[in-house]
Amino acid sequence: MPDAASIKARIEAGIPGSSAKVDDWTGGGDHFRAVVVAEAFSGLSRIQQHRMVYEIFGDEIGGPIHALSLTTQPARSS
């Protein structure tokens, strides 16, 4: 069963330089909520930003991960 910590680790590994905050929304291990900040998002539409995150999980979304609610933000390069 996925957990918030492993989802956070996979997002951060899948999108280099990103920072993710992940909550288990219901405590049931299948509805998660993530806020992801990444420089890689800059210049992309919301759809494209969310797709980058969804692509990390492939078929698991809608399967073991019933829902992954996303908020994505481009990071300002420092």
């Binding site: 797709r51 969804y54 809608g62 908020t71």
Partner: protein
């Protein structure tokens, strides 16, 4: 399988998207959503007085599979405006809160300019087009 001509479900989905300026693929119907995310998305569209077509993806699991293959988007609901995927519940809600959704829907006066094939709230029945 990937050939659209040999794939009546995917073709029916593509046709429905092309024929309806605002179309929501959801679980359940606007009157009886079968999922909280679908319910929230319907609520946003209703709050904006948007006229939209709806497709219930639950009657046949292939609808969901083909929709995601077509849109490259893994989850449901999915909102399309003028043929373009806007997003799911998260993006629609965020765009509602920022006013971008009202702008998108109102920009060309979608609700009034188009004559949708279906009346408010009625379902586009993808599966009925297959037989």
């Amino acid at each position: 399988m990937s050939d659209q001509q040999d794939n009546p479900i995917r073709q029916a989905i593509a046709d429905a998207i092309a024929e309806n300026d605002v179309i929501l693929f959801m679980k359940g119907s606007p009157e009886a959503p079968a999922c909280g995310f679908s319910a929230r998305t319907v609520g946003v569209l209703q709050a904006l007085d948007t006229r939209f077509a709806a497709v219930d993806i639950l009657p046949d699991p292939r609808i969901r599979q083909e929709l995601s293959a077509l849109s490259q988007w893994p989850t449901v609901p999915q909102l399309f405006v003028r043929g373009e995927l806007v997003g799911g519940c998260d993006i629609v809600t965020e765009m509602f809160e920022t006013g971008e959704l009202a702008e998108l829907l109102g920009a060309q006066d979608v609700a009034l300019a188009s004559e949708p094939a279906v009346a408010d709230g009625s379902l586009v029945q993808i599966e009925n087009r297959l037989s």
